[in-house]
Symmetry: C2
Subunit: 206 residues, 2 copies
């Protein structure tokens, strides 16, 4: 459990700008489809300067994924922290999951599209560190959801079922949206949020 220390930003560091540009590129065109050099162009630096901040294109991707996972976890905790009623907590958690900016939508998309990266180990040190951190955060987020279900089951608000499996399924249902959702598409996020909220409650509580 080695925590990753965010490199403190020197005053003229372009790290944040690179991450932001990378999210835009990777999220819209896809990771493989975007040239690493294009990200550099957008930020306004030469491609080699990227390596001052990230060990590789993949290292940047893994960093984006970890940050998004941290964000998801934080939001979950924030949204459910003082809601006692299990059903209401579940509803709040789902709503929080869809209460996101367009930029965050891209981050979720990137995360979902590259989950498979978290399986195999990486060659380089820093990449592997990010991978392991992200993998752990996936488990943390899964635990967030299963704990919510366990609590509800023990209180008698939810029927008893395999909380681990059901929690993972609820999470899978919620994030599956990010594979197809587009802010420009026909379905507003609010509508999706409501439908999924209802679906989750029925899945878990009936």
């Amino acid at each position: 459990m080695t925590r990753i220390v965010e490199p403190e930003a020197g005053p003229r560091s372009k790290r944040a700008a690179i991450l932001s540009a990378a999210v835009d590129c990777f999220g819209e065109a896809g990771f493989e489809a975007t040239k690493w050099s294009t990200v550099a162009e957008r930020v306004g630096i030469g491609q080699t300067a990227l390596y001052h901040y990230f060990e590789s294109k993949t290292h940047c991707l893994l960093t984006i994924m970890r940050l998004e996972l941290e964000r998801s976890h934080d939001r979950f905790v924030e949204a459910t922290k003082d809601v006692e009623d299990p059903v209401e907590a579940l509803r709040a958690a789902v709503r929080a999951a869809y209460d996101v900016s367009p930029h965050e939508v891209l981050q979720m998309r990137i995360l979902q599209n590259h989950m498979d990266l978290l399986s195999g180990t990486r060659r380089s040190k820093r990449e592997e560190a990010e991978r392991v951190a992200a993998r752990q955060l996936v488990q943390v987020v899964e635990r967030d959801w299963t704990n919510l279900l366990v609590k509800g089951m023990s209180q008698g608000a939810f029927p008893l079922r395999d909380a681990q499996l059901l929690g993972g399924s609820v999470l899978g249902l919620i994030v599956s949206v990010w594979r197809w959702y587009r802010p420009s598409g026909p379905t507003p996020l609010s509508e999706i949020s409501e439908l999924i909220e209802g679906a989750c409650v029925r899945m878990v509580a009936s």
Copy 2:
């Protein structure tokens, strides 16, 4: 709607062997992580021979995805064709979705992990043909599920809801399993199948 004609197998064609080896490699190590030349080795031919059968590594991937989508659709139709009761049809469809061989698990995993490829257009003719065919099949499969729901709603077996959105969600829930399921893992597929079957019924019918 131009259908793809499967190249008829000459007696010494290695196409099937290549597809099979590619499914193993792409499914276990991941598409990006496996070298195209490794697939050639497994089949027992030089790397350049691959290009006799596929225009590119990606063309092979897209073909695998299309074939898997065709299989999924066929299984759905087969499983539901003479079940009138909507709830039973839904149950049958879910069970069929998880009634798969280990090789098919890999194909599902590959499909899920590279759905994003179907968004952007491809440079070369044959790749683009496969992509378009796959994209269409995604819609066909989505329609399979929404139709099932529409039928159930009109018969009064399911409460009225946005069938398109709900159908997509059910499908999303079902396929989300392939991102983490491993035949060697602790949870048998039968158990997953049962839990998801129940969850889907509750989502849709209550």
